[in-house]
């Protein structure tokens, strides 16, 4: 099998956040004795992913599973604790801020809350001009204006409104302006972190359409973070399901929805409220996501899984390739315990 050269290649990525930063915070009373102990949040654990040009990789999972941390690591907003991130063949995770600059033009990020991601004291014109001017210092004033007007038209916001401030726009318009700002520098890769979660249903469709259009017209590659599975099914070409900082299933969108293999993926899919189905048959999960401070030694999903056994408690499952191309990290799938 000859896969195309991936645009983004993440290898064994890990991110741990220290909880106890100061010396005094590390001191704990244990059995009457003062001991020094550092606690860490294991946000991302040994994740490997590839994104080929033109793909839309969706990362799904519940809150606290590390989706946003992955996005921020790739965008260089956080530094990984271990592992490597390669973009277009070059390693990018250990670059200085200055060395990251040329990459920012190629890689743009869209955030969840357009109320927070646009500066309230800048007009739309100023907000959209800034990145163009910064990344293309040779453009004349007129060229910059034309560029901004073009992008505004492309996202369906009237360019004559450019002198207005963010508060004068609705949520959907604001998110389209945030997308416009990402598009002004003609990026090739967009990291979108829950870009439509804060929007109403009819507005979600508008923004999703805009992102699909931009994908086709500009040949964009996406990393799309979301918790909404119906959006994944519509938008993604590939899906990575995250649980407690680990990938439990990675596969083509169609394959994943037709034949989910990991018990967590199955539970997740069955939990989505359906429109036309009166009595859903959802798989009940025991308990809730454990804290990522003290990770279990075995499978992260073991405490909620109906198929767990002693091996799952002690040994971490490796992602294994299935006949239909899906990567699944599950002992029960590997041993064929789920069949029948």
């Amino acid at each position: 099998m000859t896969a195309p050269q991936p645009l983004l290649d993440i290898r064994n990525l890990e991110k741990r956040f220290e909880l106890d930063r100061g010396f005094l915070e590390t001191l704990k009373l244990r059995g009457g004795k003062l001991v020094q102990e550092k606690r860490e949040v294991h946000a991302v654990n040994d994740i490997s992913l590839q994104v080929a040009p033109g793909e839309a990789l969706c990362v799904v999972g519940e809150s606290g599973c590390g989706k946003s941390t992955v996005a921020r690591l790739i965008a260089g907003l956080l530094t990984p604790s271990a592992g490597e991130i390669h973009y277009g063949g070059d390693r990018i995770d250990n670059r200085s801020r200055r060395a990251m600059m040329p990459l920012r033009k190629k890689m743009q990020m869209i955030f969840q809350n357009p109320y927070a991601s646009l500066n309230p004291r800048m007009t739309i014109q100023q907000a959209l001009e800034e990145p163009v001017r910064y990344h293309n210092p040779t453009l004349s004033q007129g060229e910059v204006r034309d560029k901004v007007a073009d992008v505004m038209r492309a996202v369906g916001v009237d360019p004559s409104w450019a002198g207005r401030y963010p508060h004068e726009f609705s949520g959907g318009q604001r998110q389209r302006i945030a997308i416009a700002r990402a598009l002004t520098v003609d990026p090739e890769f967009i990291i979108a972190d829950e870009p439509i979660s804060a929007l109403d249903v009819s507005i979600q469709a508008q923004v999703l359409n805009l992102m699909l259009e931009a994908k086709e017209e500009r040949g964009l590659t996406y990393l799309f973070i979301t918790h909404d599975l119906s959006v994944v099914q519509h938008f993604g070409t590939k899906v990575a399901v995250l649980y407690l900082g680990s990938v439990c299933e990675l596969s083509d969108t169609a394959t994943l929805f037709e034949n989910p293999k990991h018990p967590y993926t199955q539970a997740l899919l069955s939990a989505v409220p359906q429109l036309k189905d009166d009595h859903p048959n959802h798989i009940r999960l025991r308990g809730e996501i454990p804290t990522p401070i003290n990770l279990p030694p075995g499978c992260p999903f073991e405490s909620r899984c109906a198929h767990a056994n002693s091996r799952c408690q002690s040994e971490q499952p490796r992602p294994l390739l299935q006949p239909d191309g899906a990567l699944v990290a599950c002992h029960a799938v590997e041993e064929g315990r789920l069949d029948g």
Binding site: G172, V201, L229
Partner: protein, 330 residues
């Protein structure tokens, strides 16, 4: 007699130099033990409806006209003292964010006992016993220990279960749940919805479920109201509204969902935005976004008419339907 009967309810907000109509002539009924969904997008007036039913509107909002008859008593006319006897007792409300609803400096036990003792003559230990029973009903493990815990010690799903237990403490006849699972993850949402459904069915409690999620409404409720710009634009049996919506807005809302379009294809979007309450167009509020709009839609507000199995406020519903029939025969 129905449990709740709302007639021509108008809610207004007093602004500096005019008033804004947030709810415009809302009428609906809820039978004992019935589950009703209220759907719509933000700004449609769903939550204001919930607040009005609990008589929780605070200035500048006020009930301008209309009646809210709950078991025969008009809530809209009640004093605060009268209302305090009903709230939490005969009707209870569940809000979106459990962290905001629970008092962070009181233990779960204090909050539950406080509610019980405010409404009934009970000793503290009797109240605690009832609290434990209620916590067990919502499947909270080791309930006696939970009573001593503070809200921050519990997870989001657990907190929402406790909110439900508190709402059920005094065996109310009506629960108003305003986006009860929006802040929760899907797997937890499914559990909470199942629990709420089970409790309402076994205790014959009426439920008004306010949500933006059509999937949730479809699975939880028997009847649905669709709201737009402070009006009910369509009402009927949930299954019929989901399967065969009549109002162009309801159709648009359902068609806009990603699962209604083949993967990768353009979604059917509704153009434009919901009008701001300060600038609701005269005539039909949906007219500026409607693809079937006619001249009279822009000038005359549509009456609510019975059409096939639903009630719908649209001038063009007849024509819409004959167009669709034509399309099918073609």
């Amino acid at each position: 007699m129905s449990l709740l009967s709302v007639r021509d309810l108008c809610v207004k907000f007093a602004m500096r130099d005019n008033t804004v109509t947030a709810l415009n002539q809302i009428s609906f009924d809820l039978a004992k033990g019935e589950r009703l969904g209220i759907v719509g997008e933000s700004g449609a007036g769903k939550s204001i409806t919930g607040f009005a039913l609990m008589n929780l509107l605070s200035r500048p909002g006020f009930v301008d006209s209309g009646n809210i008859l709950f078991q025969g008593d008009d809530i809209a006319q009640m004093s605060d003292a009268q209302m305090r006897r009903i709230r939490g007792n005969r009707m209870a409300m569940i809000f979106q964010d459990p962290m905001v609803t629970l008092n962070p400096v009181l233990t779960i036990g204090q909050q539950m006992v406080e509610t019980l003792m405010a409404h009934r003559k009970l000793s503290k230990s009797e109240a605690e016993q009832i609290a434990i029973v209620k916590l067990r009903e919502v499947y909270i493990p080791s309930p006696a220990e939970r009573l001593k815990q503070y809200p921050h010690e519990l997870s989001g799903g657990m907190r929402q279960r406790i909110i439900i237990a508190i709402a059920l403490l005094l065996d109310p006849q009506l629960i108003i749940a305003d986006e009860p699972t929006t802040a929760l993850d899907v797997t937890i949402q499914a559990d909470i919805m199942e629990l709420l459904l089970e409790l309402c069915e076994t205790n014959k409690v009426g439920l008004i479920l306010i949500t933006h999620d059509l999937g949730v409404v479809s699975q939880m409720t028997e009847r649905t109201l669709v709201m737009y710009a402070g009006r009910i634009i369509e009402a009927g049996r949930t299954r019929e509204i989901i399967n065969d919506p009549q109002h162009p807005y309801t159709q648009g809302l359902i068609n806009a969902l990603p699962q209604q379009t083949a993967p990768g294809q353009r979604l059917k979007q509704i153009p434009g935005n919901m009008p701001s309450l300060t600038a609701i167009p005269s005539g039909c509020p949906f007219a500026p976004r409607c693809e079937y709009v006619q001249d009279h839609c822009r000038t005359d507000a549509p009456e609510t008419v019975k059409y096939t199995h639903v009630e719908v406020a649209c001038h063009e519903v007849n024509r819409l339907h004959s167009d669709k029939a034509e399309e099918m025969t073609r």
